[in-house]
């Protein structure tokens, strides 16, 4: 791609570093910014820079926060004895969008995978164990991706907290809502059969 301005070229190169953005999309975004008022663009870059500069991670659950404690942990209306363990901040947002969960979170920052150089020490597992001890948690809900590394992480944490009187659960796995049985893969279908539900509970949607 040929540019008549190195300023333009630099901006395009920076945008193209973002995930899912290629050179052409980057150019489209930059040209869009070029059409805006100077003040608007300054506001835009200031918002981005400030987000990165000032954002904090919650001391308690490692979710993103404006202060030392995130808004979820600070909300006294939420159940303080319920912790949902997730891999990333995106998972927190996904579960919050369901509006079905009224407990707290714990963001691990990844899952255990020695192949990728990620061991328990790279994650917030120790902090989680300390939390459970201090906060008298009654239930720990694992909401991790259903794969082998997810299982490794669950088993590992479960071992670490065996001594505490906390109930450990994991989200259900099975046929997707609105899915067709015919197209479900055999493993999912087999698992759904193994963990089938009494109809009263199914109909009540609980």
């Amino acid at each position: 791609m040929q540019f008549s301005s190195s300023l333009l070229e630099n901006a395009v190169t920076e945008f193209a570093k973002l995930p899912g953005i290629g050179k052409k999309t980057a150019l489209r975004l930059v040209l869009h910014l070029l059409r805006q008022e100077v003040g608007e663009v300054e506001h835009f870059s200031e918002v981005v820079a400030r987000m990165r500069r000032e954002i904090k991670f919650c001391n308690r659950c490692f979710n993103v926060a404006d202060g030392d404690i995130c808004s979820i942990c600070a909300n006294s209306m939420r159940r303080q004895d319920l912790i949902c363990v997730v891999e990333t901040i995106r998972d927190v947002i996904a579960i919050e969008s369901t509006q079905q969960y009224n407990g707290l979170y714990h963001v691990l920052g990844g899952i255990i995978s020695p192949l990728d150089g990620i061991g328990p020490d790279q994650l917030t597992i120790e902090a989680l164990v300390n939390r459970i001890q201090k906060e008298a948690t009654s239930e720990l809900i694992f909401a991790l991706n259903p794969n082998i590394q997810g299982d490794t992480t669950i088993y590992y944490i479960q071992k670490k907290i065996q001594a505490f009187p906390v109930q450990v659960t994991t989200i259900a796995r099975g046929i997707a809502f609105g899915g067709e049985l015919e197209y479900a893969d055999e493993m999912t279908l087999a698992r759904s059969l193994q963990n089938r539900l009494p109809v009263e509970r199914y109909v009540a949607g609980r």
């Binding site: 255990i112 061991g119 328990p120 893969d185 055999e186």
Partner: protein, 396 residues
């Protein structure tokens, strides 16, 4: 809540073997109509030496003839792609792309139990591979394995007899995976966890920090798939190995003291005990030294290892015995004969052996067969002599 019913196809412990007479009558009844699994056509785009070419198959037996380098084996490999979603000859899909091109497409028209299917394998320019049957793409390619059961015999397969234990495990795994989808899923899980475990052991050795709690967890995760793989192999080999021996004697047509023995650490202790016992060794070696990934199929002739004393002919006979018995097992498990791909198998075989082999795979088996040969005359003559209906594709 426990389910008592079995999920997934289970291998019967003792595959029933059809007698020769039964096989004959079975074959006679089948010859008139096409087999339950039949590849009707295949079209290739930018695949190896084929720029854009289509083939149609009308007979149960297809001979592919032509000089060296004309693409006989490539055509077989394309069929292999449709059965296993990958090449038999190279590890990377990139090697299957025609030189100077990016990406390829293989499309096959297949009839399976009298239903027409369209199977498509595409390698995109980006290097991403897609596989679909009837325009329904697979999320996981492993779900396709076993839909079109297939046995291939190629010249390089001699390593199955002469090579390391890995080759024989691969052979058994390929067979069991086609017969039992659960086996394949457990095998995939086992391999993934094993990689994690080895990687962890390596990091122990490098950093000096040893997180035994995590090692314990990985050990526990290995148990279920590892134990399943072992039990399945054990149950299966009990009937498979004598059948291979029987086929070998049929081919050799003289008594030889061939011994096939399944060796596994798990025959004496369960996997949990094996892992526990070899932990110190594992820490020292920085990899996992016990488990079904170390299983071996020992082959000996008399008291000596087969690969050390066997002649070329004996090696070839054993290779055929293994593959032909695989064919019988798949036929038994699936209820119809698998696709058979024979690559250049006549080399170093005398005329009567060629005839015996063709008799067995083309008549008795009654499945679809593809045979490559540089010598068109020879192939034609043998097939005509046996009165086997066939089609010859000549590549030039």
């Amino acid at each position: 809540m426990e389910l008592s019913t079995q999920i997934g196809p289970a291998l019967s412990r003792q595959p029933k073997r059809l007698s020769v007479q039964q096989l004959d009558s079975f074959a006679a009844g089948r010859l008139s109509c096409s087999p339950m699994l039949f590849f009707r056509a295949i079209s290739l785009l930018q695949f190896k030496n084929y720029t854009n070419r289509a083939f149609e198959f009308n007979e149960a037996v297809t001979g592919i003839c032509g000089n060296n380098g004309q693409g006989k084996t490539n055509l077989l490999d394309a069929l292999h792609y449709l059965c296993f979603t990958k090449s038999y000859f190279s590890r990377t899909d990139g090697h299957a792309v025609q030189e100077g091109q990016k990406g390829f497409r293989i499309e096959g028209r297949v009839s399976l139990n009298e239903k027409q299917e369209k199977a498509v394998c595409v390698l995109r320019e980006t290097g991403k591979k897609e596989f679909s049957v009837n325009d329904q793409p697979y999320d996981k390619f492993s779900h396709h394995i076993g839909r079109y059961p297939c046995v291939i015999i190629a010249p390089d397969d001699a390593v199955l007899v002469t090579g390391g234990s890995e080759e024989r495990r691969k052979f058994i795994d390929s067979l069991l995976s086609q017969a039992d989808a659960t086996y394949l899923q457990h095998l995939i899980s086992y391999t993934k966890i094993l990689q994690q475990r080895n990687s962890l052991l390596k990091s122990f050795a490098e950093t000096g920090q040893r997180n035994f709690a995590l090692l314990d967890v990985l050990d526990e995760q290995l148990l279920k798939p590892g134990q399943y793989i072992f039990e399945k192999r054990k149950d299966f080999l009990i009937s498979f190995l004598p059948a291979v021996r029987h086929t070998y004697h049929e081919i050799a047509q003289q008594p030889e003291d061939l011994r096939l023995v399944y060796e596994s650490q798990l025959l004496e202790n369960n996997l949990a005990e094996c892992l526990q016992a070899s932990r110190q060794k594992d820490l020292y070696a920085a990899r996992t030294t016990a488990g079904p990934h170390r299983d071996e199929l020992e082959i000996s002739l008399g008291a000596q290892p087969f690969k050390q004393i066997a002649s070329q002919g004996q090696r070839k006979s054993l290779l055929f015995a293994l593959k032909l018995t695989e064919m019988d097992v798949l036929k038994e498990e699936k209820g119809f004969p698998p696709l058979l791909l024979l690559d250049d198998v006549f080399e170093k075989l005398d005329e009567s052996r060629i005839s015996n082999l063709l008799q067995r795979v083309c008549r008795d088996n009654a499945g679809q067969v593809f045979i490559t040969d540089t010598n068109e005359e020879r192939l034609k003559k043998h097939l005509d002599d046996l009165a086997i209906a066939h089609q010859i594709i000549t590549l030039r």
